[in-house]
C-alpha cells in the first residue's frame, strides 16, 4: 500500500505538472525536498543524541523500569504480546508523554527507541508486529494538550480567543484515539482466531 501511494503521488504529480506546462516545478521541488530531507535528518542528530543520552541515564538509574511498572498495568493491556518486563514499555510511555505535552522533538527519539525495542521482540523482522501497529496507532492519534503552533498562528491572525480550540481538539483526538484502540483490538482478535 505504501509503494502504491508513493508511486501514485510521484506519477500523478509529474503528469499534472506536464499537462499544466509547468514541468520545471518537478525538478525544483524534487531537489528542494531532497535537501529538506537531509536537513531534517541532520537537524535531528543533536536532539536525538541529547534525548537518547538522557534516556540511557534514566534507564541506568532504574527510572524507566519504575515508570513502566507504574503505568505498565494500564499500557500492557494494549500490548498483550509483549513480555512482562519489556524495555519497550518505558520508551512507549516516554514517547506518549512527550506527545501529550506537545514536545515534538523529544517524542521522536523516544518513539524510534521504542521501535528498536519492539523490533527485538519481533519474530519476523521484516513484518510489522501487532505491538508495533498498536504503538503507532496510539502515537499518531495521541492527544496533545496544548497545540502551541496553531495557537500562535491564531494569535497572529488576530483571533478574539486563540486558545478556544483546545477543548474541541482534545475531544476530536479523544474520539480518534478511542476508535483506533477499539479497531486495533478487534483486528487483533479476529486475526488470532
Amino acid at each position: 500500500m505504501v509503494n502504491a501511494i508513493w508511486l501514485f503521488m510521484l506519477a500523478t504529480g509529474i503528469i499534472v505538472a506536464a499537462l499544466n506546462g509547468r514541468i520545471d516545478v518537478v525538478t525544483e521541488s524534487a531537489m528542494a525536498a531532497a535537501e529538506l530531507g537531509v536537513e531534517t535528518a541532520f537537524g535531528l542528530i543533536g536532539v536525538m543524541s541529547l534525548w537518547l543520552g538522557l534516556m540511557k541515564l534514566a534507564e541506568d538509574a532504574g527510572f524507566i523500569k519504575a515508570l513502566a511498572r507504574f503505568f505498565g498495568p494500564a499500557i500492557r493491556r494494549l500490548f498483550p504480546t509483549l513480555r512482562e518486563d519489556s524495555p519497550a514499555l518505558g520508551a512507549i510511555i516516554m514517547n506518549l508523554s512527550a506527545n501529550i505535552l506537545g514536545l515534538g522533538n523529544a517524542a521522536t527519539p523516544f518513539g524510534l527507541k521504542a521501535m528498536q525495542e519492539l523490533q527485538k521482540e519481533n519474530p519476523h523482522p521484516d513484518t510489522a508486529s501487532p505491538a508495533m501497529i498498536t504503538f503507532l496507532a496510539l502515537n499518531t492519534s495521541c492527544i496533545t494538550l496544548v497545540p502551541a503552533t496553531i495557537i500562535a498562528i491564531r494569535m497572529k491572525a488576530q483571533s478574539v480567543n486563540p486558545t478556544e480550540i483546545i477543548g474541541p481538539t482534545i475531544v476530536a483526538t479523544g474520539c480518534a484515539m478511542t476508535l483506533a484502540i477499539i479497531a486495533d483490538y478487534l483486528i487483533r482478535r479476529r486475526s488470532k482466531s
Partner: protein
Amino acid sequence: MSFIAEISRWAIPCLLLIIPLAAYFRKVPVYESFVTGAEEGFRTAIRILPFLVGMLVSIRIFVDSGALEILARLLQPVFIFFGLDTELTAIIPLAVMRPLSGSGALGVATQLINQYGPDSFIGRLASTLQGSTDTTFFVLTVYFGSVGIKKYRYALKLGLLADLTGLVASLWIVHKMFY
C-alpha cells in the same frame, strides 16, 4: 489552560535537572552513561534519512504540481453527497495533506486561517483538525523504516481510519460548540 502551557514550558528543564541528579544519587556514572546513550543518536538520525528524502520528494511533487488541488476538487462531490455545506470543501486540501506532511499541512492551515479568519467556522475547523490528527503516513514510513520493517500489514489502514475519525469528530465538535 495557561497551567498546561506552563507545564509544557517547564517539562524539559525539569527533566534535564531531575534525571541526572537522581541518577547521580543512585551511583550511576552520569556523564559516561549519558554519552553511551547519545552515541546512538547519530546512527538513528542517519538511518531515517533515506525515508525522509523519499517521502518528502514524492509529497512535494504531488503538492507543488497542483495534483493535490485536483484531488481535493474530485473529493468535493463526496462532501456534498453527505449533505455538508459547500463552503466546507475549503477544508479538503488540509484533510488530504494532514496525514502526509506536517509542515505542508501547517502551511495549508495557516493559509485557511488567514483567508477565512481565525474565528470563522473554517478557521476553527482548520485549527482543530491540525491539532487533533497527525502525519500518519509520514510517521509510519519513518518509524518502520528505522528498524527495517517492509510489510506494514494493517498499520496504514488503522492510522488513516483514526485520521478520518479525527476529521469527522472535528466537524461535529466545532459545529456543536460554536454554532
